[in-house]
């Protein structure tokens, strides 16, 4: 796996420099925070709560961007855009779930990468 597809490496380097001793803490915070995002998204999807789902995607988009997880942020933005100013019909809800799955997969990749970093 090339981290280049998933991360803005240059920014991540800068982030590390900025946070210094607090970098690990920040990454751990991100891991635990994003771990809670997916169950929340699932719940919103099951209850067909379009607004709730969009809020989650928006927030996840922001925080993943801040830790330079470029791909994860992009996927969340797509989900957010699909929910912008409209209520999806049944077939669209299915499609949304595919997007959630993609986010889950990408979250897994990001987590793994961060875990490696933390152990290094």
């Amino acid at each position: 796996m090339s981290s280049q597809e998933h991360f803005d490496n240059e920014s991540l380097q800068t982030l590390q420099e900025i946070m210094e001793d607090e970098f690990n803490e920040l990454i751990e915070l991100f891991i635990s925070d994003s771990g809670k995002r997916l169950p929340a998204m699932e719940l919103a999807w099951e209850t067909r709560n379009a607004v709730g789902l969009r809020m989650e995607a928006h927030s996840f988009k922001g925080s993943s961007a801040n830790v330079c997880a470029r791909e994860l942020s992009r996927l969340n933005m797509e989900l957010e855009d699909l929910l912008r100013d409209r209520t999806p019909d049944d077939s669209e809800w299915q499609e949304l779930h595919n997007k959630i799955n993609a986010i889950r997969a990408e979250t897994g990749v990001v987590h793994d990468y961060f875990q490696q970093m933390l152990q290094a």
């Binding site: 920014s11 920040l26 915070l29 925070d33 927030s59 925080s63 830790v67």
Partner: protein
Amino acid sequence: MTGIRVLIADDNLVDRKLLSRIVRNQGNTVVEATCGEEAILAFREHHPDIVLMDVLMPGIGGKEAARCIKAEAGEDMVPIIFLTSLTDAHDLAACLESGGDDFMNKPYNPVVLEAKIRSFYRMRDMHRTLQAQRDTIAVHNDHLIREQETAKAVFDNVAHHGCLSSPNIRYMLSPLAVFNGDVLLAARCPGGGMHVLLGDFTGHGLPAAIGAMPMAEIFYGMTAKGFGIRDIVREINLKLHNILPVGFFCCATMAALDFDNKTTSLWMGGVPDGYLLRSKNRELEPLCSTHLPLGVLSNARFNDSVIDLNFNNDDRLFFWSDGILEARNSAGEMFGQERLEHVMRYSISPTLVFEDIQTALSEFQGTQKNDDDVTLLEVVMMDRELLGETPVGPANAPASGPLDWSLSYRLGPQSLQTFNPLPLMMHIIMEVPGLQSINGQLYSVLSELYSNALEHGVLGLDSSLKHSPEGFMRYYQERETRLQQMGNGHVIIEMEHSGNVEHGRLVLRFRDSGPGFDWQTMVNRSRCTPGDAHRYCGRGIPLLSSICTSLEYKEKGNVVEAEIMWPPTAEG
């Protein structure tokens, strides 16, 4: 740059932590809040310099919180930078409309963030400096206004309106500022006459008004001491010439009214034409300024000559400052002399002219504001009795003074031509405390005896000339001519006082160089026609008899002696 206090409001822990670190790394202090409500509370508690606010937060959200904070900050400038991962232009615009000052996109760029924080801090600093300066200016302004009010109170006490409330005067003063460059003064003379002065100093406001103080001092002081119009304008001119900077002066009209002889003397310098509106046939006589304004010429070059006019009952004088002529309407035209003259000619009645001028002026001006102080004055001749009591002169003489004294004062031709000895004589008499309460009557006695001695005694003028108004003017011209041609002659004034602090006796003796006259006949004639107010001739003698305990002509009629006892017995 340290110590910028930054409030960070973001519900996302990761974002908040990151941002907080960036901001702290830059040497600033951070206060954190996790939602809009908390942000408002934190703002109240910590008074941050700058707020970084996430837009989408649970609860009231970033935009509403921004509105509350801006409302609470009031006049203080608290920059709010929105943190956003919004990309839609409308959403971004909505952030700024809710009171945000800028926005910052996620992911954060520390360099841009630092630049923004510094830039907004500078702005806030500038804003605070500006407010502080504004407050300082406000304090100074308050101070200035208080000073002006105090100065104004002193000014009003000095340049007071005197007897402007007399029934024969109407006036309108509309100042452009707290201080007025136009001055109106009026005072009764000890002998019963009246002095009125309308002055218009160069400029407006305090610098213009300040010259009015010495002017008023001189006007009121000299009038109370019995000085005449010529002495007073000369003294004012001298004073203003000495104290005013070059280019500053006072355009002025001064009028002296004689209610007994129904005349007025005018001195006009640098003023617009005034008018005399006769009650008889409504004749309108323009009165033109013949002198330069007060304060322009040195004493040696100053001309104190006056115009003497008959001024019968209900005749009216109208004067104004140039502010009235130059008052503009909305089209920028000036009110002008023609409009004024028109009003004076075509008012229904002379008594309405004053109001009609005011009405015409205000209709002409509309809502237009004055460029200059506007002053309008009307002086009417009426019988002295209608004006009320002549006010007693200033009671500022010493409480104890000389009681046993005498003097003899001889005035030769040169003195008689150019000098009025009455104020000086009054000054000496007023040193006797017991005589201060009757200064008006004493002035009348001195004035009458002196003019008799000079005009009839030395100059040999025939008092019967004074029977008619026309004759009166001729009498005055003749007096002037003979005075200037006089080669010899004199008047000796002798005064003696004796007494104690309770009562006393003043003897006044006037001895002239003339041939004397048949005073016996004259006294008898005037006794036969008491209270004949329309006769000028010999009028002084019955008047004097009532004030003086005795009045006697002596020798060949060129010596007259008056005795005055004080305190005065009953009504005298």
